[in-house]
Symmetry: C2
Subunit: 271 residues, 2 copies
């Protein structure tokens, strides 16, 4: 999907919501356990209930991989089921030397119809570039993550100036344009977005950590939005596990709608 | 597998060879393409021919994942086929926030009988620790990789002193002991091993990049060995693709034997 097509969809749906499909067999409603493929059945109903309000889905690959071959089947069926006009992010956090990264790129871009894959930056340019060779496909590079351990290395000060995550932004922005490269930037540090926008004004940011925690969507939008919106804000648990009863999909739809309505306001206010 | 059991195996086989199963459908001999499961058939014959000389196998997960469900089946069969007394490394370079890393740990430690998984450090402590909760299982953390892009971030100088990869070693050594944590250290920088051994004298190192390139095994062994050997030296292409004919397994066995004989010398010399 091109950047323009993504922006079109954002304007049309008045939403920059990404729904995280972190589908945990231990957390899905009990009545689905008897389904032939519980993970897929859960995702199917979540997608049916939320696709009007979301511009992206983000299955976290770990939750499928944990079930081996069976989980991989649930993942492939889920990705096939997502409507074609919605952006699909394989949250895989992959990254390896060149010929190996190319294999991962094939897994998600050719074998499955994902639009983007999340990539870890530690191994540098030749671990990222193979993903960028695929037309209309995207790398979403980890820059500043919102987990407690994020600060262990990402905020280390460099003698050349700035912190490690800033150098990740600066250097990687030379590898790929705003048409093919996005960044993961944790929402718990909305104030950091102003500084980040100075380094990469035009790239899209994937912002996790909004929704379940709540409260910071306005700040993220205020500090992070650019002239193409430039934000995909993810909510996983806050939507998909909002109810653990038979009404889980309906409740998920309501939660997604609430976020979409909030986003509509911020698009009017900040875009 | 415990550290002592691994060391026992090293002494018994007089080898610290890890064979990398980077099994690429485009590179395996043509006559295997008609097999029901070409990737597994290739691996099976490689394992049969090399298991006497190797103490570890390291399938790189990307090469299997690129084939989706089918590739995942080949991977599971391969891991099942590896003899129980040999150390199995899932070269997956995973890493995510806590509950998600736990899912990856389950994928490789419970769903498959791997002994170790490679993990990327960028997301910090809570992305690594979930892997360490599994008894007699190992994290092999990326520290200094031998690819060209390795220097993009790993060698950045920190204001607190030292380079990023040294801080990765120092900080992570507080998360896990030498009984559960190893490090990936690229062989193209054998001289760096002396400095690395000052920071982590007792941990095992997984050293890729020996064999196909050749020549540095002696230097790696001289600078890297400790009182428990402390080295697993990987060779992938130099062994598994040494011949692309019907004799590929025999030739692979010969290559593995040659490396084992060299390692026997270095064990006598440096241990």
């Amino acid at each position: 999907m091109t950047r323009e097509a993504l922006f079109d969809q954002i304007r049309q749906k008045e939403s920059y919501l990404c729904v995280g499909l972190d589908t945990d067999i231990q957390k899905i409603p009990a009545h689905l356990h008897s389904a032939e493929d519980p993970l897929f059945e859960f995702n199917k109903q979540i997608i049916d209930a939320t696709h009007e309000f979301a511009v992206a889905y983000k299955p976290n690959i770990a939750f499928y991989e944990a079930h081996g071959v069976k989980g991989w089947q649930s993942l492939e069926k889920t990705i096939d089921y997502i409507p074609d006009d919605i952006f699909v992010i394989a949250d895989a956090k992959r990254g390896d030397i060149g010929n190996t990264s190319k294999m991962y790129a094939r897994a998600f871009f050719e074998n499955m119809a994902c639009d983007a894959v999340t990539v870890a930056p530690y191994m540098g340019a030749d671990s990222v570039k193979p993903f960028l060779e695929f037309e209309e496909k995207w790398v979403i590079l980890l820059a500043l993550t919102s987990n407690a351990g994020g600060k262990d290395f990402q905020n280390l000060e460099l003698t050349q100036g700035g912190e490690l995550f800033e150098e990740v932004l600066r250097k990687s922005a030379e590898w790929g344009s705003k048409e093919e490269l996005m960044y993961v930037v944790g929402a718990t540090r909305a104030e950091a977005l102003t500084g980040i926008r100075k380094i990469i004004p035009n790239h899209f940011l994937l912002v996790p950590g909004v929704g379940a925690q709540g409260g910071s969507l306005e700040e993220v939008s205020r500090h992070g939005m650019n002239d193409h919106c430039g934000l995909l804000v993810n909510s996983s648990r806050g939507i998909i596990y909002a109810s653990d009863g038979e009404d889980f999909a309906t409740v998920a739809g309501t939660k997604a709608l609430t976020l979409q309505e909030e986003m509509k306001n911020y698009l009017n206010k900040f875009l």
